[in-house]
Symmetry: C2
Subunit: 190 residues, 2 copies
């Protein structure tokens, strides 16, 4: 698929068909992730590919718990009706786990290790684009407590579950999401 077609056509998906995704396709999506840049080429990412119904159920429970907590904490009404059923529904969830030690000079800076998270985010964007080019849809999901996800997946305490990416075929139509124009977002310093 042409690059701009992939970037413009990608849309977050919260409604999946049960149809499984082949491991060959999953590997291609992960390979796309590994082409992202990273600080000092540390490649700080690791992937947990979850197709287990039981583990998806535990992730759903954690997200649901977090949703209720977030609703109470934020008072954001939309969280009341926000369903995280896609976590049980998606045929695959890929957890992207980052290693805070695999970062750049930021580790010495006041705000701490963030370079590895930026690299993981770039890798996730590559995953979304690759998935879309294969006719799959995806979702970047972060409504969870990191410690809880560590326990569910068996992730080392020293590592950070950065995001969960749901992957599968879209069950519902695409909803167009408006974008602000570049001109409104840009200042030229000539």
């Amino acid at each position: 698929m042409e690059l701009f077609e992939a970037m413009q056509g990608r849309r977050s998906c919260r409604d999946y068909l049960p149809e499984p995704v082949g491991e060959e396709l999953i590997e291609k999506v992960l390979e796309a992730a590994t082409w992202a840049p990273s600080p000092l080429n540390t490649q700080p990412w690791e992937f947990f590919v979850i197709t287990s119904k039981e583990i998806k159920g535990r992730i759903f429970d954690e997200a649901e718990r977090c949703r209720v907590w977030a609703l109470e904490t934020s008072g954001w009404k939309w969280l009341d009706s926000y369903k995280v059923d896609f976590l049980r529904q998606a045929p695959v969830i890929i957890a992207i786990v980052g290693d805070p030690k695999k970062t750049g000079v930021d580790m010495f800076m006041e705000e701490g290790n963030i370079g590895y998270q930026a690299a993981c985010a770039a890798a996730i964007q590559n995953m979304h684009l690759a998935a879309h080019s294969f006719g799959l849809s995806s979702l970047w999901f972060t409504l969870f407590n990191k410690s809880a996800i560590r326990v569910i997946l068996g992730v080392d305490e020293a590592k950070t579950p950065v995001a969960l990416v749901c992957l599968g075929k879209r069950a519902s139509d695409i909803r167009e999401v408006p974008r602000k124009s570049v001109k409104d977002k840009t200042t030229y310093l000539r």
Copy 2:
């Protein structure tokens, strides 16, 4: 350009030709950025397009100061001979500035506002891919103090200069950067 060709061909560039980049091309790179996903579609990014020689010089001075600080703090020998001349050399530097208020539920979490940074990182990855598809090279640069860059660019104190992206035609050959295999990075939970 085909998506995977763009992802695999993109390489960080630290050596630029002086040839300027047209504003039309710059806008296309920025448009690519705006297609990235963001928490609650907040589109938390803003762009400062820097072609001013004077401002590039001030950015260079800040990065150079930061390099010396990082060398002293980290003891990493490679920083001793690391040149940041590309900041003066690149025809364009684009600063990506994020708005911490434009984020998701993470704002209520212990680790604080990070969703907007992830969105900015995804936008930056789109910029690199778009640049490469137009025959341009780029660099994701973060060796600077955020407050200093705020002052140089005139950025609101409440906003975060997330990264500087250098943009231009590559002056030297591409250096291949090895990647660890996906298999070494992946755990299947079936």
